[in-house]
Symmetry: C2
Subunit: 462 residues, 2 copies
Amino acid sequence: MLDDAFFDYLRGIDCSDVEVYSIPEGSVVFPKVPLMRVEGPVAVVQLLETPFVNLINYASLVTTNAARHRHVAGKSKVLMEFGLRRAQGPDGAISASKYCFMGGFDATSNVLAGHLFGIPLRGTHSHAYVSSYMSLDEIPDRTLRNKDGSKICKDFVSLVKEWLCKIQAADSLRNVFGDTNQSELAAFASYALAFPSSFLALVDTYDVMRSGIPNFCAVALALHDLGYKASGIRLDSGDLAYLSIETRKVFHAIEKEFNIPGFGKMVITASNDLNEETIDALNKQGHEVDAFGIGTYLVTCYSQAALGCVFKLVEINSRPRIKLSEDVAKVSIPCKKRCFRLYGKEGYPLVDIMIRESEPSPKAGERILCRHPFLESKRAYVVPQHVEELLHCYWPGSSDKPRAELPPLLKIRSRCMQQLEKLRPDHIRRLNPTPYKVSVSAKLYEFIHYLWLNEAPVGELQ
Amino acid sequence: MLDDAFFDYLRGIDCSDVEVYSIPEGSVVFPKVPLMRVEGPVAVVQLLETPFVNLINYASLVTTNAARHRHVAGKSKVLMEFGLRRAQGPDGAISASKYCFMGGFDATSNVLAGHLFGIPLRGTHSHAYVSSYMSLDEIPDRTLRNKDGSKICKDFVSLVKEWLCKIQAADSLRNVFGDTNQSELAAFASYALAFPSSFLALVDTYDVMRSGIPNFCAVALALHDLGYKASGIRLDSGDLAYLSIETRKVFHAIEKEFNIPGFGKMVITASNDLNEETIDALNKQGHEVDAFGIGTYLVTCYSQAALGCVFKLVEINSRPRIKLSEDVAKVSIPCKKRCFRLYGKEGYPLVDIMIRESEPSPKAGERILCRHPFLESKRAYVVPQHVEELLHCYWPGSSDKPRAELPPLLKIRSRCMQQLEKLRPDHIRRLNPTPYKVSVSAKLYEFIHYLWLNEAPVGELQ
């Protein structure tokens, strides 16, 4: 157990002697290049290790995961984050919503995240809402005013029932439909009466093709009579490829049968344990889904559950430090460094390079040797067309420079999208992507290996 | 975007008409048996769905994961939760610490969780702490008072150096050690000067066997001269089985060489991406680890990243409701229910049973038919020795009954341990465990299937 005085000490910590440099949020980053450089008194900076690593790891991981989902779904699909109930508590879910939006999602079902960050909200009613109804008799107020306000339909429910009969009688649909579930029909009609301009129905409470779809269509057609356009349906179980294709056929048949232009294009949303792989499989099979609601696999980051960012001491009192390890991937790159991204003629980033702070910056049009940090033979001269410095000062401590303003979430999201578009496609293809190269300057290379040799204990060859 | 008025409505929601029944926290539970029963006005109860599911899913999952780690590690090992830096933000980490403790962990490295819940705190210094030192010259104050206060050692650092020479000269150790890293030695000596009664060293910053271990032993032996007992070491990389065994040999050799009783039993802590499988593999190889620090795989729940608890409407206005699905596992069990655990003669739980609220409770010594909820042929008579009702009222709404006090965390943790010990071992063995049976009464069985038949749309056989 700790002394209360320790918590008082923590409360009183002063970060005005700390300087923080960071790559702008929403940037594409690569392993080995530091995301942040933190300078200051060693005790304070060591206390920052855990909060910084905690705040960066999951945020970066879930943003990346969202971007991967966007990549496989394609630009034209609507992606909705539905992860609240599977995240690590309320705040884990808030982080998930924020960073999924940053990574390219369009909306969240997390109302608080929408409120806090202005993320568009999307969702549907629940299965419980559907099963809370028993029959159409439970709808007391059945009046609905036309969208243009011109007249009032006194019995919307009867209009829905008429449409259901017409659908069931239609030659082009006769083979599809029998009796539908009446409690589901009551739930849909009631929902449409409350939200006639945003009627989106969850159609799998009882049976998608034999109940959910005809019930939805009857309500959507009744709304259409009054000038409203229904939003669409959501599938939450079963074979999503098959059900979406069958549903689309029904929508097209209704468009044709009743001459309702645009009914065939009604939005089909799919959910139910979706992830990169299942979306990829749906794409290969063919499907008619317009929008995906993704939860569990998105917020728990199924393809990689944790990101391993670490915080390493690289220099103290102007003396560079190295952390060795039997695992080369865990050897830290010493020294206070500056980091640059070098771009080629086609506008793509070619390579990132880390240099010692005392070295001159790389310049556009000038040849520079880029070396692999650990492998002697991996090196190449590069003449960049354009050079971008990666680390910017966001917290200059007590100096005269102002602390940086952070851009709004939407701007960070745009940066993220643009950065991904700027990458050479082979770096981000799903199968066997070309690794992006991260290098060090010749001077830094020599210094790393000088330090490595001198810090390792004397002994046999490693 | 939502209207601000909606948030005002949410803020004003009154739960005094809601009653909440729950299985006590820290109980072992099985699929299909409701963890909670929530009664009240439908709108309010539907709004409780997402927060309840969010708060229960991850908490239950990570507690279960912790209990699985305890099961594979065995009772004698110390288990420490080190997950803060890989959890879903600060609050995801707080949940992880709390529920890992509940599931059988001994301590956490999350200082705030220790402060909030009284969980014992354990951890070591960082690699950065070690590499922040350059040499022994950096230690200004080298005095250390004997543990019993009897005298003061004026130069603890020289004492450490003497011990390092003795270790290096000792015949029984000569083959092991060469020169050690001096910055590491400085870091250890400095740490011991500040915390002589709790010296625990992270020994893999440079090289475990050639630097970390001899440096640790020199400091531990110097502390021993002054009456202090070092706590031990932590291995955070490399082959943990091999390194722990080699380290133990050195500790035993030192005990013998310098006649220091107990030195051989020095605590060896291991960390570095541990999980159930790696601990199981270590057990099979043989190792000398006394304590495990587990982070990433624990808090991200590697073996199953999410728990799929759902919230289903089972009755409205005294009318039972069912949610159907093409996936039988997703069909909900209708009706307001009471749930019981039936125990056999040996004291083990035999089966859980759900009954309709109107049915009489099962009684000890009386025969009762337990039926699989969906499969006609799976049924058996059971005569329980003891019957436990599972759901208890914690929030009786506005009734005269008092709201239940929640037990302290330590008591919940004890309940969890005891419940696991009460289970028949074949239900919790790692390979092919016998599934524990969950049943319904004959009346509830008939009712489920009556409702299923009548709610499903008329059509072909399913």
